[in-house]
Symmetry: C2
Subunit: 391 residues, 2 copies
Amino acid sequence: MVEIDKTRFDRLQEEMERENVDALICRLPENVLYLSDYWAQQGLSLAILPKGEEPILLAPEVEEPYAEKSWADTRIFGWGLVGEDDLFSSWERLLSDIRDEQSLQNSTVGVETSFELVAPPYNVMEPVGVGKPTLNLIEKVFSGGEVVDATGLLEKARSVKTDYEQDKLRVANEVAALGLARFEEEVLPGKTEAQVAAAVEQEIRSKGAGYKGANFARASAEIRTGPGSFETLLFVPSRSERITEGDIVLLELPTVVDGYWSDLTRVTVAGRPTKKQKEIHNLVSKAQQAAIDRMSPGTSWGEVDKAARETIEKGGYGDNFPHITGHGLGLRYHENIPMLYPGADDELESGMVTSVEPGIYIEGWGGIRMEDNILVTEDGPELLSTYDRTL
Amino acid sequence: MVEIDKTRFDRLQEEMERENVDALICRLPENVLYLSDYWAQQGLSLAILPKGEEPILLAPEVEEPYAEKSWADTRIFGWGLVGEDDLFSSWERLLSDIRDEQSLQNSTVGVETSFELVAPPYNVMEPVGVGKPTLNLIEKVFSGGEVVDATGLLEKARSVKTDYEQDKLRVANEVAALGLARFEEEVLPGKTEAQVAAAVEQEIRSKGAGYKGANFARASAEIRTGPGSFETLLFVPSRSERITEGDIVLLELPTVVDGYWSDLTRVTVAGRPTKKQKEIHNLVSKAQQAAIDRMSPGTSWGEVDKAARETIEKGGYGDNFPHITGHGLGLRYHENIPMLYPGADDELESGMVTSVEPGIYIEGWGGIRMEDNILVTEDGPELLSTYDRTL
């Protein structure tokens, strides 16, 4: 059990105070982790944070060896075997106990009503959303009070990362770098996109477990080769298409280590890069650095986007950078705060983390993007991802 | 574009008729696939099925190359680039058009209110749930009618697999078998659980893309070695623990190919199996076969469970099989229909698919489970997974 992250709770209590929320009840793995420091293996946990108190975690017995290491008051219930109660009965019993212990009978309870895009639990193959069953249960147990949407509150609190969280994000980026190194080895003519993607994922999963005390690591690599890399301006899947000599090969790599995310992109060339490939890579690199250099507390999100966009415009490729410059990340690989897009006038704060990922995409030729994760600090921007950025 | 699966739609129309639902509107990738034959790369698609009509699919432009191959009337919207509408504005516009075209102004619309455990889209790292934003939007567009929960209707319709779906499940099981073969090669003293898991996943992802016309395959392997395999009676993660000579090594393997799932378990021994390991493996194998032999249309779910359970009891391990015998699967790796548990009196129907997965778990010694996927037919049970079941 690690020491509780007091900074995180001070921030949360402040937000709860401002929004008049007496307790938070979270089911989504990303928010359970935020409140309890436990990354749920499956979507069977609940985390409760009464204002001014320490968090309480409900976890199924099978997850006890890991859940009990969280900093929450952890309460275990039987689940999944013949004769055991169903999930909602166990939750109702334990939630009712907590309501009575904490005198929350007439309280305002904040829930995850508006999260739809979510981070998976460790078991990425069976994620959970928050639908009517969970909301109905909470409304039943807290029928004397009010149930309100805490989505905005949670997103805002999460947007500033504490020292503890920053360390976790550094580790996630180090593990991701193992995948970037493997990517460079694997890019050879004749290999399929899916083969290269699978090898990168293998590297991260096999070497990430146990890395600097991490329990679990997974990644989901997507590769595009040749002119098809043009399409990577948005999310596209790895195919059975083969790499040919001279191809641009682009890797998009979200990695999760114990629930903390990294989101990186690198491009390499299968063979010797052409002059044009090098020129465009240099321009993207310059645009990325220009954006990073602007990342200080108080700078508007739009100004950071502008720095990247103007660099690409000046380089003559203004029509070829159609997406935003970056997005928040931390407990999910896309978070809404901050969001680096043209004209955005919200301001960066110390502790915020974003991707910075300008790109140039030319139909029939290909796409080159470079993506790193940056921490905003009073002393200037810090690259959480330190892997080599040259072609 | 493949020919539309008329059997599926006849069945759906029948269920909609029975439940007085005029149209279904689905966002979850598993149900979008069910209605449109398109496995969403991200959770940005909607599928609409008006009663008596063909389905309509809304998909973002970046997914068009795949979405347009669906059997739905596919309508594309811009998403994700600077200056494009946000998702909900595009959906509102297109849904309103459909409401008017199909005269659904005063209709009863069925939605996914109670799905919480969900299947991920192709991008397993960013799944979606159905929360207030989607439900509010649908209620707004269909404010002249009624919005009802179609979760039960969808689960019931999905529980019987058509010939088209059965073929997809056969392919998913063939791809999964590539992973089972790799597992046997990888189990060597000194390797970590995470290393073996990562290699199995790599095999499936790299060889699954393009296999018999499949676009995409992914798996998530979990490995437990030695006495720790006892804990696999429920879901447990792969660790950095190393295999030692003589260990039981258990692999739990969900695999998804173009949105259709296989769920398999195999056990091997690192070295020569002991007499006890062989005896228990034989007993589990007998229990599995006893259950499979009972799987005919009209047999109750409980009777199938009983066949496995009695075999294990007679073998002297009645206290060591604490979980259910099997569960439905198809568009998710756990579906609720059928569910093979003690005393269940619902009946199997031709076309249903379940896992059959008895196991024996002994604390301090280990666990042995064998899991295959069985199709119920009028001519008897068919093993969709045909990989070798010997130790």
